[in-house]
Amino acid sequence: MPSVDPLSHCNRSARLTDVQAGEEGVVERLDLEADERFRLMRLGLVPGRRVNLVKRGSRFLLATAGARLAIDRALAAHVYIIRSQDIA
C-alpha cells in the first residue's frame, strides 16, 4: 500500500516507491545523503531528467536517458519525481 504523504496536497511530487510500474515522470529531487545522492546522479539520475519506472520490488528498475538502472528500494524511496500526468 502506498503511504500517504501528508504534504501531498501542496506538493505534486511523489516518491518512486509510490509510483506504479510503467508510469513516467521527471526527477524532482534526490533526498539522500551526499554519497548515495552522488552515486545515483553519476548514473544519470539527475533532477530534470525523464524517468520511467520499469519494475517495482525490492530492487527498482528504472529507465532514464538511454540507461537502464537497478536501485535498491531504500534508495528509490528517497527519489521524488513529478509524474507526467501531474504535469499535464
Binding site: F38, M41, P47, V54, K55, G66
Partner: protein, 666 residues
C-alpha cells in the same frame, strides 16, 4: 552500411606525413563501462596488448602499442569510468593519468573517447567532463552500425560541433571505421597545439552554482536534442520484459542457478582435458630428466623441485582461463549485471554487496584473480570484507585434496566421493558467510552500500574479447601466483632433501619400525625424517596430534602452508619412502591407505581423513593470496589477521571433527 562508409570517406583526413617519431606519443582510451572500450583496444592493438598495474597501485590498465604509418603510439586503456570526481581507486588513477601526474606514464598527447551511439544521453556527460581536461580528443562513436540498422538519425556534423571534437562513427566489434579513426588521431597528434577549444556552452556549465553532474547531464541532453532525432534513445520493450524476469527472485534466481551450473559444468568438464595433457606432459618431462641426468641431487632438484613446482602451477591454468572466459562472456552479454541484482538481495543479508558475487565466483577458480576483480566494489569497507572472505571459498588448488580424501574414504564410489566435494564447497561457503557476518559486527563494521547499478543493454558477446580476457587472467595468474609457488616449491624441496642421510639409504628397510615393549624405535630414520622438514614435522607432531595428524601429515601441512595442493605430492613422496608401494597396485592413494601409525593402526582412518578435509577447506595456505591481500589493502594487518583466524578456524574445526568422528566411528 553504405551510409556509414560514405560518412567515413567524407570525414577522411588527407594523407599526411607520419607523426614526429622523436618519442612515442601517449594516447588514452576512455569511456564509460560497456561502451566498447576493450573491443576497440583489442581492435587497435591486435592481441599484442597486455594488462599491467598503474605504478604504485593495484588498479589494472591495459597498455599496448599501435602503429600509425611509421609512428608507434603508446595506447593506454583507462578503466571504465562514470566520472572523474569519484573516490574509487580507479577514478583516482584515471585522474592522475589524464593530468599527467601518474608516475611512469607519459603526459597524454591525445585521448580517444569511446561513446556508445545507442545511448547518447547516458554517455555524453562523461565526454563533456573529459573534454574539459585540456587534452586533444577524438570521439569514437561506437556501435554506429546498430544505430544505422535501426534507421536512427544522428547528425555527425552537429554532434562534432556541439562536442568541439571530431566524431568518427565506428563499430569496434565489426572493425568498421577504424582506419578513419586512426587518420583522425594522426591529425590530432600533428595539430597538437591547435586543438579546438572547449565549446563555450560546456565551459559555462562547470561554473554553474548547482551540481556539476546535473549540469553536465543537461548539457548532454541538449546536445542530443540538437544532433539527433528524439528516437535516438533506443529503448526496447523486449529488454524491459527480459529484465523484469531476470531480476526477479521467482524467475531470476532459477535462471541464475542454471547459468552458474552451466558455467561450472563447462569449467570442470572442459578444463579436465588440457589438465590431463599438462599432467602427462610434466610426467614425460620428469621422466626425460630422470633419463638424461643420473639419480642424485641435481636430478632430484629438477624433478621434485622445479618441474613439480611448475606443474603444480600450470595445471590450474585451464580452469582459470575457462572461468574468466565465461565471466567475460556473461559480462559482455549484459547478464552479469542482472545476476548482481538477483544476488544483491541474498548477499546483503551476509554483509556483502551484490557486486561481491563476481569476485566470489572467480574465487572458485583462484583467490588471486578473485581478489583483483573485487576492485569493482566501490565502497572500501565492502571491498575489504569481500577480500577477507574470498580465500575461504573452494579454489581449484583444494580440489586435489578433496579428491584424495574422497578416494581415501570411499574408493571408487563416485556418488559418495562427490559428497566429499559438495561438503567441501558448502563448508567453505558457510565459513565465508560466518566470517563476513562477524567482520560486519566487529573489525569492518557497516552495512553494505545499497545497490545502484547500470544494467547495460543485452548484446551478443564477442569471443575475441573473451579470449583476450582469459589469456590476460592466465598470464596474470602465472606472474602473480606462479613465481611464488615455484620459489616455494624449490625451498620446500631443499628443506625436505637436506641434510641428506649420511649413508645411501637402503630403501627397503630404512624406515622399518620396530616395536619393542610397546615403545616405538625407528631402526634408522628415512631420508625425509632425517631432513629439516622431517625434523620440524616430528617436533610439531604434538601440535597436530589432537587432529589425528602424525608427523608425516604434519610435514604435509607445513609444506602446504604456502600452496595447499603441495600436500598431495608431499604425502605421495612420504608414502613412497615408507616403501609400501606394491608392484601390482601402484596408485599412490592405495599406498596412502596402507600407511600405518607406530601402533600398527591405519593412519588414514575415517576421523583423520575427515579432519584433514576440514582443515584444508578452512586453512589459509596460499602465500600468493596473502601477498595479494597485502597489496590490495596496503597493510600487513589484514593478511596477518586473515592467516591468524583462518588457521584458528581450521585447527578448531578439524579438532572438533576428529574428536567427534572418533567417538562415533569408534
Amino acid at each position: 552500411m553504405n551510409a556509414l562508409l560514405n560518412v567515413i570517406q567524407e570525414d577522411g583526413a588527407p594523407s599526411s606525413p607520419a607523426v614526429s617519431a622523436k618519442e612515442r606519443p601517449c594516447v588514452l582510451l576512455a569511456g564509460l563501462p560497456n561502451a566498447g572500450k576493450t573491443s576497440l583496444f583489442n581492435r587497435l592493438t591486435g592481441l599484442r596488448g597486455h594488462t599491467a598495474n598503474f605504478p604504485g597501485t593495484t588498479v589494472e590498465v591495459r597498455e599496448g602499442a599501435l602503429r600509425i604509418g611509421s609512428t608507434e603510439v603508446y595506447l593506454l586503456d583507462l578503466p571504465g569510468l562514470y566520472g572523474l570526481d569519484g573516490g574509487s581507486l580507479e577514478q583516482e588513477a584515471a585522474r592522475a593519468v589524464i593530468r599527467g601526474e601518474a608516475e611512469g606514464i607519459p603526459k597524454p598527447d591525445a585521448m580517444i573517447i569511446v561513446v556508445d551511439a545507442t545511448r547518447l544521453p547516458h554517455q555524453l556527460p562523461l565526454t563533456g567532463e573529459l573534454r574539459a581536461q585540456g587534452i586533444p580528443v577524438v570521439v569514437a562513436l561506437n556501435m554506429y552500425d546498430e544505430v544505422e540498422k535501426r534507421k536512427v538519425h544522428i547528425s555527425l556534423e552537429r554532434l562534432s560541433e556541439e562536442l568541439g571534437a571530431h566524431v568518427v562513427p565506428i563499430s569496434a566489434r565489426e572493425g568498421i571505421g577504424i582506419s578513419a579513426l586512426l587518420e583522425q588521431l594522426e591529425r590530432l597528434l600533428l595539430e597538437r597545439a591547435t586543438f579546438k577549444e572547449v565549446p563555450p556552452r560546456l565551459a559555462a556549465c562547470s561554473t554553474c552554482r548547482g551540481c556539476v553532474v546535473t549540469a553536465r547531464c543537461h548539457w548532454a541532453d541538449e546536445v542530443v536534442k540538437n544532433a539527433a532525432a528524439e528516437s535516438s534513445i533506443l529503448r526496447s520493450s523486449v529488454a524491459d520484459k527480459v529484465d523484469e524476469y531476470c531480476t526477479s527472485t521467482l524467475v531470476g534466481l532459477p535462471i541464475f542457478a542454471g547459468v552458474m551450473f552451466l558455467l561450472f559444468f563447462s569449467v570442470f568438464r572442459l578444463a579436465a582435458i588440457p589438465m590431463d595433457w599438462i599432467d602427462s606432459g610434466f610426467g614425460e618431462l620428469i621422466a626425460l630428466v630422470q633419463y638424461l641426468i643420473p639419480e642424485g641431487t641435481v636430478s632430484s632438484f629438477l624433478t621434485d623441485g622445479v618441474l613439480a613446482g611448475l606443474g603444480g602451477v600450470v595445471v590450474f591454468l585451464p580452469q582459470i582461463c575457462i572461468l574468466f572466459f565465461g565471466i567475460k562472456l556473461l559480462e559482455d552479454s549484459g547478464y552479469l549485471s542482472r545476476a548482481v541484482v538477483v544476488m544483491d538481495g541474498i548477499m546483503r543479508r551476509f554483509g556483502l554487496p551484490g557486486q561481491a558475487f563476481v569476485p566470489m565466483l572467480a574465487a572458485h577458480a583462484c583467490a588471486v584473480p578473485a581478489i583483483m576483480s573485487s576492485r569493482l566494489i566501490e565502497n572500501p569497507r565492502d571491498r575489504l570484507r569481500t577480500i577477507l572472505v574470498i580465500p575461504l571459498l573452494t579454489c581449484s588448488a583444494r580440489l586435489p585434496v578433496y579428491l584424495m580424501v574422497a578416494v581415501l574414504l570411499f574408493g571408487d564410489n563416485a556418488f559418495a566421493g562427490s559428497l566429499v566435494f559438495v561438503s567441501g564447497y558448502a563448508l567453505g561457503a558457510v565459513a565465508a558467510i560466518c566470517v563476513s557476518l562477524v567482520l560486519q559486527r566487529s573489525l569492518v563494521a557497516g552495512t553494505p552500500s545499497r545497490l545502484a547499478i547500470e544494467l547495460p543493454p543485452y548484446r551478443m558477446p564477442s569471443l575475441r574479447d573473451a579470449l583476450q580476457s582469459a589469456l590476460d587472467r592466465g598470464l596474470m595468474f602465472l606472474k602473480e601466483a606462479g613465481t611464488i609457488i615455484l620459489m616455494i616449491s624449490v625451498v620446500l624441496w631443499a628443506l625436505s632433501s637436506f641434510p641428506q642421510l649420511p649413508a645411501p639409504p637402503a630403501r627397503a628397510d630404512s624406515s622399518q619400525v620396530v616395536a619393542v615393549s610397546g615403545e616405538v624405535v625407528p631402526a634408522q630414520p628415512s631420508a625425509l625424517e632425517y631432513s629439516i622438514a622431517g625434523r620440524v614435522g616430528k617436533f610439531i607432531e604434538p601440535v597436530f596430534a589432537p587432529l589425528g595428524f602424525d608427523w608425516r601429515i604434519s610435514v604435509g601441512v607445513l609444506t602446504s602452508f604456502a600452496a595447499r595442493e603441495v600436500v598431495v605430492s608431499a604425502l605421495a613422496v612420504m608414502s613412497g619412502i615408507e616403501g609400501e608401494v606394491s608392484e601390482d597396485d601402484p596408485g599412490f592413494i592405495n599406498s596412502l591407505r596402507r600407511m600405518r601409525r607406530p601402533d600398527g593402526s591405519l593412519l588414514f582412518d575415517i576421523p583423520t581423513a575427515l579432519s584433514l578435509l576440514v582443515f584444508f577447506v578452512l586453512a589459509m595456505q596460499c602465500l600468493p593470496t596473502q601477498v595479494m591481500t597485502y597489496r590490495e589493502t596496503r597493510s600487513l594487518r589484514w593478511p596477518l589477521l586473515q592467516f591468524g583466524w583462518m588457521s584458528f578456524m581450521a585447527y578448531g574445526a578439524a579438532f572438533v571433527t576428529y574428536q567427534l568422528a572418533s567417538i562415533f566411528v569408534g
